[in-house]
């Protein structure tokens, strides 16, 4: 038992590190602020292209498709080294982690030739158009309709609304799941397409979030014409295509970040406590910080177990499915505790409180995004522990006859 790289891994890490040392550093003044999205996006695209040209983008993809022709453990090693330079950008994860792999699995050769390499280089960015106002956890309940055009071209006309689409406002393409047959049970009447986000009839509008910001979009489809050649998989088999996409979702959404135990400990030392000393002397808080340290370490070490499986050429075990449940809840609870300890001052919107309050809002968001706590627990119960599926009263009912509330 050790944490060392194998000789091959060590050689790869050394090569990655050397390349990064040469190519990654940005002068302090050159670095774009994440709050300036346009500048941050330009910087991210340039970095993605630079990586792709050196074989460090999409490391597990074949070289012929613009990837690195490497292994999953090499991707993990590169990500670790890249993180040391602070050069990770949020723009590409969903497209490269979920959408383009779906395109690669289902599109014809010409489509793959056209799109895969530009996506790997970051020249074109993809979004995932799955969730709808009435189809969240139950994404197979999508209502966005596609019907054949009446002009005999075989094209499809799409009407409906998608929601919570990350990056739709800067994405070039998307994959969209739509209902092509409401007369059959819900899983059997879906079809997947890829779509040009500049198509007439697509309207991208930012969502005004509970936290006040706007990081996601609603995407309205009004008479959007999609050629049948843009279909991914067979008509009516869209759910099977979506499962390929969703398999990667928990990896793409990733773990928690933001205020964690070191920040809380530092805050506790700098904040007056219940007695004469700082809050870091309060027993209740000390115990909670210890527990959060244990959980954060437990998650990190659980990732090491997954890495070990990759390193041995095995598929990581089910233990990797627990990350987001733990980290999102911890973000929410730990930052709530930090505000508690600031006491009345904790309510103020103040630069000193901003990171904690941001984590507090986003812990709540992450408990929902990419599979809610409840859905993830169902997944653990069903796929890991082998417990029965929930009773599904809508499974054998024509979609149009399923009760749908207000």
């Amino acid at each position: 038992m050790d944490f060392n790289d194998s000789p091959t891994e060590a050689a790869y890490r050394a090569a990655a590190r050397a390349w990064l040392d040469t190519n990654a550093p940005l002068a302090a003044g050159e670095r774009a602020s994440p709050s300036d999205e346009a500048a941050h996006l330009r910087e991210g695209k340039a970095w993605q292209a630079c990586k792709a040209d050196a074989g460090f983008a999409c490391i597990t993809w074949p070289r012929d498709w613009g990837g690195g022709g490497g292994t999953p453990i090499e991707q993990v090693i590169f990500d670790q080294e890249e993180a040391r330079h602070g050069r990770s950008y949020p723009f590409f994860n969903i497209g490269l982690g979920m959408c383009v792999p779906t395109v690669m699995a289902f599109a014809d050769d010409a489509t793959k030739q056209r799109f895969v390499r530009p996506a790997a280089r970051g020249d074109e960015i993809w979004c995932q158009l799955f969730s709808e106002p009435a189809a969240g956890s139950d994404v197979a309940a999508s209502r966005t309709r596609a019907v054949r055009a009446e002009d005999g071209t075989g094209d499809w006309i799409v009407d409906g609304q998608k929601v919570w689409t990350s990056g739709a406002h800067y994405c070039d393409y998307g994959i969209v799941i739509v209902r092509t047959d409401p007369d059959v049970p819900k899983h059997k009447g879906l079809t997947m397409f890829w779509v040009d986000m500049t198509s007439p009839g697509i309207d991208v509008r930012p969502i005004h979030q509970a936290s006040g910001g706007s990081d996601f979009n609603e995407v309205y489809f009004t008479g959007v014409r999609i050629p049948d050649s843009q279909r991914l998989g067979e008509v009516g088999r869209g759910w099977n295509v979506a499962l390929v996409t969703l398999m990667n979702e928990r990896l793409a959404v990733g773990g928690g970040s933001g205020t964690n135990w070191p920040e809380l400990l530092a805050l506790a030392r700098a904040t007056p406590g219940l007695g004469d000393g700082p809050a870091s002397e309060d027993g209740g808080l000390r115990e909670r910080i210890a527990d959060w340290y244990v959980a954060a370490e437990g998650l990190k070490l659980t990732r090491y177990r997954a890495m070990t499986a990759l390193s041995r050429g095995e598929t990581p075990g089910p233990e990797s499915s627990i990350g987001k449940i733990v980290s999102a809840n911890q973000m929410q609870e730990l930052s709530r505790e930090a505000l508690d300890r600031l006491d009345q001052f904790g309510i103020i919107v103040d630069p000193g409180n901003a990171a904690i309050q941001h984590t507090w809002f986003w812990g709540g968001a992450l408990r929902i995004a990419g599979g809610t706590d409840e859905i993830l627990k169902n997944i653990i119960a069903e796929r890991v522990l082998g417990l029965p599926l929930d009773i599904r009263v809508d499974r054998d009912v024509a979609f149009k006859d399923i009760p749908r509330g207000a």
Binding site: M1, D2, D5, E287, A290, D291, T302, R305, M307, V326
Partner: protein, 371 residues
């Protein structure tokens, strides 16, 4: 990255599981539970000695197998799974480890071969009564090289041959080795929440003893012993938690209510998912503890504390929710749920309870952050 048991270690673990499934059935554990005159199962103890497990991590020069600590961790997980009614934790995780770490060469030569043979069973006598153990507050005292005082409770104190006793001398708190057959030692078996492990009150009246490690450094010595034992305890706790999850799952898949198995209800599914999450996190932290123990890493104190905190919480949670999943049956004597409920408490308290370990951990983190 190689953060898992090796193939050989997995094989050893698998063999241990098979052996214990056959030799340490619930009837064996209940044989100790139901018989006040039976402090542990001697047949099982002898069988385990014959397998060489008592010497798994003890060097060959002392008669051990000299395998290593990761192997011992693998065995510990399997012993925890079956709620083994034997003094393995006291004799090996605490006593053998302490002797290997801090005893003189002469003491090692005198004690370790007997430990391997199962003839020497050591125990840890540190608790002075209610509240956390404190080297500074300990009431046992050394006068003219002899110990006087009382320790309560001492796990396996009634059947052990030797004790490591925390006591004060002119040099300050220290650890002392006492041969429990010597004059001036009185033991009284006591009842505990977990009758599958025995315990006693040990009273010393000018009992002969010898220092274990440097006199006056009892606090640091004890801390080192606890760190090593905590990792091994954590593996027993993970094994126990894993078994509880397994029991709850099996029962939930058999038990019908409202026309279907209860395993199909989200309230049960999510409960079992929570058990799984806690157990896997504890397992990861325990692996890290195993690595730190086996490599004598500087990170051992944090790694041991994290493993102990996570594993104590996971086993307590799994044990109580296993009872809950079993419903009324879970609260009967006949169903095995209470064996785990009891053992989870025994393991969580025997080396100092969770609040003590959280405080140990946060002090380490404060030191680290200050550095």
């Amino acid at each position: 990255m190689n953060f898992d048991f090796s193939d050989d270690q997995k094989f050893l673990k698998e063999e241990a599981r098979k052996f214990l499934a056959a030799r340490c059935t619930s009837a064996v554990t209940r044989g100790v539970l139901n018989d006040d005159a039976k402090p542990f199962d001697r047949d099982l103890w002898q069988a385990i000695v014959d397998m060489g497990w008592t010497g798994a991590a003890i060097p060959e020069e002392f008669g051990g197998l000299g395998l290593g600590h990761v192997e011992l961790c693998a065995i510990a997980e399997e012993l925890g799974r079956v709620v083994a009614p034997i003094p393995f934790a006291s004799a090996i995780y605490v006593f053998a480890e302490a002797v290997m770490k801090i005893a003189s060469s002469a003491q090692k030569a005198a004690l370790l071969p007997g430990v391997v043979a199962g003839a020497i069973i050591g125990c840890l006598a540190t608790s002075d009564g209610p509240g956390p153990v404190s080297a500074d507050r300990t009431t046992a005292e050394l006068t003219n090289g002899r110990i006087t005082g009382t320790k309560l409770p001492v796990t396996d104190g009634d059947i052990a041959t030797h004790a490591i006793v925390l006591a004060r001398s002119d040099a300050g708190p220290g650890l002392y080795l006492v041969d429990l057959a010597a004059e001036g030692v009185a033991r009284e078996r006591i009842e505990t929440l977990d009758p599958t492990r025995s315990a006693a009150r040990l009273s010393f009246q000018a009992a002969p003893c010898e220092p274990l490690g440097t006199e006056g450094e009892g606090a640091a010595l004890l801390s080192g012993i606890l760190d090593r034992a905590a990792v091994l305890f954590a593996f027993e706790q993970v094994g126990g938690a894993d078994r509880c999850l397994d029991m709850a799952k099996t029962y939930a898949l058999e038990r019908y209510a409202f026309g279907r198995v209860i395993a199909g209800y989200q309230a049960i599914k999510h409960k079992l998912a929570d058990m799984y999450v806690k157990t896997e996190l504890a397992r990861s932290s325990s692996y890290y503890g195993a690595w730190a123990l086996a490599s004598d890493a500087a990170e051992l104190p944090e790694a041991a504390a994290a493993a102990r905190i996570a594993a104590s919480a996971a086993y307590d949670f799994a044990a109580k929710e296993n009872v809950q999943t079993h419903g009324g049956m879970g609260f009967t004597w006949e169903v095995d749920c209470h064996l785990h409920l009891r053992r989870a408490r025994q393991l969580a308290l025997a080396l100092g309870g969770p609040p003590v370990w959280r405080e140990r951990l946060i002090r380490r983190l404060e030191l680290r952050n200050a550095a």
